[in-house]
């Protein structure tokens, strides 16, 4: 019963954050709605026994990436955007496409995963997905990928500095 309550609580928070991001006029408030959504998703990771991923989500996404976004938004000093007003043909097509995407995804979930295995409940600790198992998998089976991610982050850092330099090409 507690799991059901927690799932719905955080699901409602996540969807509210996503809606706030899409509908807010000011980019700063949109980014703050996104932070709410990220925290709700991190809590959902905790309900799925993925403690390390949940903490990494808060540290990396809500702590680092969103601060970077807010920093850039305030650096550019943009004014408030015009409200999402009239129904132009492009917006109608966008809404129709979105409904099609949602219908497809939910149809796949309904058709393919109705007989899926039930999730193990929280009072049965699942050793296979614990932080220790995640660390062992990262540093044995996926050690090469882990090193490559480090190289990728270095390349991205150098590229970002070059792109944002004042006299670029």
């Amino acid at each position: 019963m507690l799991e059901t309550f927690l799932f719905f609580l955080f699901a409602v928070l996540a969807v509210a954050g996503g809606l706030g991001l899409v509908t807010s006029r000011n980019p700063v408030s949109g980014a703050l709605w996104m932070v709410l959504c990220l925290f709700a998703i991190a809590s959902l990771y905790l309900t799925l026994n993925a403690a390390f991923i949940g903490v990494a989500q808060i540290l990396v996404y809500a702590g680092a990436i969103m601060v970077l976004f807010l920093f850039v938004i305030m650096l550019l000093n943009l004014g408030a955007l015009p409200a999402l007003g009239g129904l132009t043909p492009r917006r109608l097509v966008s809404a129709a496409l979105t409904v099609v995407v949602l219908a497809q995804l939910l149809a796949v979930v309904a058709i393919r995963f109705t007989g899926a295995p039930a999730l193990p409940t929280a009072d049965v600790p699942v050793e296979a997905t614990s932080t220790e198992a995640l660390g062992i998998a990262l540093f044995t089976d996926h050690a090469f990928s882990l090193e490559m991610i480090g190289v990728l982050l270095l390349a991205a850092t150098i590229g970002a500095v070059l792109l944002a330099k004042r006299r670029f090409v």
């Binding site: 059901t4 991001l21 899409v22 976004f69 550019l76 809404a95 995804l105 198992a133």
Partner: protein, 101 residues
Amino acid sequence: MPVDLNWYLSLSAVLFTLGVLGVLLRRNAIVVFLSIELMLNAVNLSLVAFSQAFGDVDGQVLVFFVMAVAAAEAAVGLAIVIALFRNRETVNIDDISLLRG
């Protein structure tokens, strides 16, 4: 009423659709970036749910890598936004749709 895999997958689908809606509706490049991050998070949620449902830790490993790539993408993407704003004084993606300077 136990929480099963379907609920997490449905929530993931709804969040992904919200991200698609943001990319299609909004014209601010930074908000479009944030919507892409929302889509990445929706996929991460479904990966963690699968990882828990099948007792396999590889789903969480993939989520870890997706987070690292998203961090790199955000750094490069925001640097591009800053460079564009310096040249054009706008972040409206309708005004910067051409690749030539």
